[in-house]
């Protein structure tokens, strides 16, 4: 643990925490790159939505949560699972459709869960996870256990009607839920400007009296600090909050999206100027929290871990045929 004297930054975030953030973000990035590669080799089928570029959002948010809190999101979910502490082996094996996957190979990229880690999916219907997430918050409140629920959605989902039905009930019943809008500027191929009459999503709860904040979702530290405040508000029983995280996805909507709706220059600009991992890396180096050599070592370890997950996922057997008929009824 870093002592106060050692800490050179003005931030309330400790050096150890910064390093943790770095590791988890890099973990997600390397995992997603490997998933993209396996997809290219035909080892992963169907749809595969990568989280590359958005890592700071889930890493900063998850770090503000406590044991017993719950998380739910849409289909761009690999990063959320890793940030919730789910094993990369199990996630990757689900991507390859094998028996050791979190859903025994029956869910795939968009449908994974871990009750143990409080991760409730992984949902493929845009916006449907928002009422579900409020329902999870309802259960926490019903049981009066002090836990909260975080429901993530994208800038595309935030125009769905059920999101507002949920905002209304969450505010009406003061449910302990944070609605995190990950605004990566494109709902598939449609920019927020072309899809939303008003694109300040942090204010979308205003009509229901839900406070909202806009956060630089490319800065893990800003995400973390804003999340801490939101979590405290919600946990104190003051009702839901909306957090709009301004972020960017580097890859296409899914693997089969050539992303012709934006320029290469736009993508390149974000990558060079705002990359969440590079930004933090610079800080770690300039504040001498870690040396170049140490970071290289971290990268090496992460790569090895991801490679291990990838070979595990390719070696794990396909589900036995009997699995076809199991888990339909409880």
């Amino acid at each position: 643990m870093a002592t106060k004297a050692k800490r050179k930054s003005k931030s309330k975030v400790s050096n150890d925490q910064l390093l943790e953030f770095y590791k988890t973000m890099l973990d997600i990035r390397r995992f997603e790159e490997k998933a993209g590669q396996l997809y290219g080799m035909g080892q992963i089928g169907g749809f595969c939505h990568l989280y590359i570029g958005q890592e700071a959002v889930v890493v900063g948010m998850q770090a503000a949560l406590e044991e017993g809190d719950s998380v739910i999101t849409s289909y761009r979910d690999h990063g959320h699972m890793l940030a919730c502490g789910m094993e990369p082996e199990g996630v990757m094996a689900e991507l390859t459709g094998r028996i050791d996957g979190y859903s025994r190979g029956k869910g795939g990229s968009m449908h994974m869960f871990s009750e143990e880690k409080g991760f409730y999916g992984g949902h493929g219907i845009v916006g449907a996870q928002i009422p579900l997430g409020a329902g999870i918050a309802f259960a926490h409140r019903y049981r009066d256990n002090g836990n909260i629920s975080v429901a993530y959605c994208g800038d595309g989902a935030v125009n769905q009607g059920q999101v507002y039905e949920t905002f209304n009930m969450a505010a009406l019943w003061s449910l302990p839920v944070i609605f995190v809008v990950e605004n990566n500027r494109y709902g598939m191929g449609t920019s927020t400007e072309r899809a939303s009459a008003k694109s300040d999503f942090s204010q979308r709860g205003q009509a229901y009296g839900i406070p909202g904040v806009k956060v630089d979702g490319m800065s893990v530290v800003e995400v973390f600090e804003a999340s801490q405040k939101a979590v405290a508000h919600v946990r104190a029983g003051k009702g839901p909050m909306v957090m709009e995280m301004m972020t960017y996805r580097y890859r296409g909507h899914s693997m089969s999206d050539p992303a012709k709706y934006r320029t290469k220059e736009e993508v390149q600009k974000v990558k060079t100027e705002q990359d969440p991992i590079e930004q933090l890396k610079e800080r770690l180096l300039s504040e001498k929290i870690a040396t170049e050599e140490e970071l290289k070592q971290i990268d090496k370890e992460i790569k090895a871990r991801v490679a291990k997950a990838a070979s595990f996922a390719q070696e794990s057997p396909e589900p036995p045929l009997e699995e076809l008929y199991t888990d339909v009824y409880a």
Binding site: M41, G42, A139, Q162, P258, Y329
Partner: protein, 454 residues
């Protein structure tokens, strides 16, 4: 060791593509995430990013090459310290594509999902009392809420209003606002909140003012409640009951008069029940609340005020998935459910006066379907008429007809005949509505046709 870069598949259906352009040349340093090439398919042009870092050692497929098969090595990257290409083995590429060997694999498949063993229906020879279907439903909820703190009721007007059809009368007084929750008029939203609560192990009873309005929520019912257990490999259960009146009431027009039995019975993961008597309503609702998965509980507004004898106990349950022979007969089997049971019994009475002995089966559960009881009856009577309020196409009768053809064809002496609602939206005019609904005389006519007594 050197790393081979393989021709990637960019969509689930891509088998080959053109290597349109190289952005790097041999000797270039690359970092993870760098775009190194562009490939083209008939659908799109895509960029290839590298995952590994190092030096481009060799380009194996030249720019402009067409028809490059997926997984062909297109370049080699040298890792730190390497100067020469040494690709004795490319571990990733050696993994066989698993999809290729699947064509011959089969598994004995039931046409519909078998449900784990169904308990036998309990015998009751104790005292009974006459109660309405409305009271029976209320009693079932109240008893289950008393015995399990995690059972709660939510829906429009269930609390202070005491229920749009007074089914939840008195529950708010007894259980309070925490467990009897009035919702705004937002079916999709509160159905989703109910399912989310069920994911956490609570046992919600979600009341729809009518199932017609549940169409707003059908995505949450099917995609979230019915499929999540499967999609989670058995981890996340949805122990939830969706209940409310279903089918036509009386002259409320097309948007308030639809029967959804066939719709929901189509879905693996759901159980669907539609009781007729108060005893079945009570026993099945208690079973539905105790069930570890989602149950669609279809009531009928016209039956709420009808009285039946109900076992006088607070522990009366009826197993889901068991039909009941409500009238024995030998010449023909009439299979039906919900309000249509009454019409079938009327028809059986008329037929008996004309010398035809009809057996009437009340399905009670639409899914799982009690095939055994239907088949046993058909083996005896050799004739089958189905009767339902649903529209004919892809209805419950259509399913039973197909099932009996597959499983008891040799026992049939006449074609299975369906009686159903007419294939039109429900009209408002009294005469047209009566014509659109399946009536007892329609059943009589169908029975006479299959017994060749016309």
């Amino acid at each position: 060791m050197s790393i081979e870069i393989l021709m990637p598949a960019l969509s689930p259906t891509m088998t080959e593509g053109n290597l349109a352009k190289w952005h790097v040349k041999e000797g270039d340093n690359v970092q993870s995430g760098d775009v190194i090439a562009e490939i083209e398919t008939d659908k799109a042009t895509m960029e290839v990013e590298v995952v590994d870092e190092g030096v481009i050692g060799k380009i194996l497929v030249a720019e402009g090459t067409e028809g490059v098969a997926v997984n062909t090595a297109i370049a080699v990257i040298l890792e730190e310290g390497e100067t020469e290409v040494s690709t004795s083995s490319a571990p990733d590429a050696s993994v066989a594509k698993v999809a290729d060997k699947h064509q011959e694999e089969t598994i004995t498949s039931p046409n519909t999902q078998p449900v784990t063993s169904i308990d036998p229906e309990p015998e009751w020879d104790g005292p009974t009392k006459s109660v309405t279907v409305r009271e029976a439903l209320r009693d079932a909820m109240a008893e289950e809420m008393r015995s399990n703190e995690e059972v709660f009721l939510m829906g429009e007007e269930v609390g202070e209003y005491q229920g749009a059809y007074k089914v939840s009368q008195g529950l708010l007084d007894e259980f309070g606002k925490k467990r009897v929750i009035d919702t705004p008029i937002t079916e999709q939203g509160f159905a989703g909140i109910g399912v989310g609560a069920a994911f956490m192990g609570l046992k919600p009873i979600v009341e729809f003012m009518t199932f017609n309005f549940a169409m707003q929520a059908i995505d949450q019912i099917i995609n979230s409640a019915a499929k999540t257990l499967y999609m989670s490999g058995g981890q996340i259960k949805s122990p939830i009951v969706f209940r409310g009146p279903n089918g036509a009431a009386s002259r409320v027009g097309a948007q308030h008069s639809q029967c959804y039995a066939a719709w929901y019975s189509h879905v693996p993961g759901l159980k669907v029940v539609a009781p007729y008597t108060a005893a079945d309503a009570k026993g099945l609702l208690k079973s539905a609340i105790r069930d570890p998965g989602p149950v669609i509980f279809l009531e009928n507004e016209l039956l709420y005020g009808e009285s039946f004898d109900v076992p006088d106990t607070d522990d009366w349950t009826v197993p889901i998935g068991k039909a009941k022979v409500v009238r024995e007969g030998s010449d023909v089997t009439i299979v039906t459910f919900s309000l249509m049971v009454r019409k079938a019994l009327e028809a059986a009475e008329t037929l008996s006066e004309q010398g035809i002995s009809a057996e009437v089966i009340d399905l009670r559960s639409i899914r799982p379907l009690d095939k055994e009881t239907i088949i046993a009856s058909v083996k005896k009577t050799n004739r089958l008429v189905t009767a339902e309020e649903n529209w004919p196409q892809s209805g419950v009768g259509a399913e039973i007809s197909a099932m009996i053809m597959e499983e008891a064809f040799d026992y049939l002496d006449a074609p299975v005949t369906r009686v159903s609602g007419k294939d039109v939206p429900m009209p408002y005019a009294a005469n047209l509505e009566a014509l659109a609904l399946a009536q007892a005389h329609d059943i009589v006519r169908a029975v006479k046709a299959v017994t060749y007594k016309d």
